[in-house]
Symmetry: none
Subunit: 159 residues, 2 copies
């Protein structure tokens, strides 16, 4: 069990700190992350948070763009220019910095969303809006390629 899974909403205290969910901390330790990278997501008000491999993934994405196009340069600027390190205190809490607040608009609660090899942080309301969008898209996708119908409970099962 070394993957970031599930969603948890945590409270931000009066000093602007938030506890990283215990499950997530276990994964962070299991993966040996000494510090966390926080990167702004490109098109959603969330931050991607993870270890050094997350940075690699972003680099790979940039590399897939044509280096002669402005897009690649823009992406690099956007990601590196405004990324940040997050350090946890001795209790496993993060300081909710202006960097985080500016991009996510969090107020007094913050949602941690597991994404497998990394996780995201969201403002809870915006997360549920986005989550509904994702479900709608996946549902449409599934109905589009409906090949076999079971009993009606058509769950897209890769089998």
């Amino acid at each position: 069990m070394d993957r970031f899974l599930s969603t948890a909403v945590m409270n931000i205290d009066a000093k602007g700190r938030v506890s990283v969910p215990g499950r997530f901390r276990q994964v962070i330790m299991a993966r040996g992350y000494q510090e966390l990278y926080a990167l702004r997501c490109l098109d959603i008000p969330a931050l991607d948070v993870g270890g050094p491999d997350l940075l690699d993934a972003y680099e790979a994405r940039i590399a897939s763009e044509d280096p002669f196009l402005q897009t690649a340069d823009d992406m690099s600027f956007f990601i590196h220019g405004d990324g940040d390190f997050l350090k946890m205190d001795s209790e496993g809490r993060l300081q909710v910095s202006d960097f985080i607040r500016a991009h996510t608009h969090v107020a007094d609660q913050i949602a941690f969303v597991g994404r497998g090899k990394h996780f995201q942080v969201w403002e809870p309301e915006r997360l549920s809006d986005y989550s509904a969008d994702v479900r709608a898209r996946l549902l449409k996708l599934r109905q589009a390629k409906l090949v076999q119908t079971g009993s009606g409970a058509v769950q897209g099962e890769p089998e």
Copy 2:
């Protein structure tokens, strides 16, 4: 007998725990599952529950997509953000967490529904509503076929 079959409604105790039906536990052990992976179904208020291989299968499915397209991201968001690991205590009970309650709306009872290689958990009332819907759909489908083939004798349906 290594498949999840039949339906059982179990009580949630004062501490928010529920016993996994013995039959199901036998299947879980026979399959060697140390922990259970639960996923919120897309369009029904139920959870799909299975072994880690269920998650592996989904991840394999994602890996076959172009990682930079939205579909891959949506899929990852769904199976990781709307998924969770469930662990049973030494008596074979599950903690009915907010994660489960929020999507299924269970209160003090929860229904386990065998689905072969995995099972589902439902709020009992919603389950019976849904199963009535399923029956109606199947019946309509069959009657449509009967008319098409002109077999004439429409069989009475025991309700």
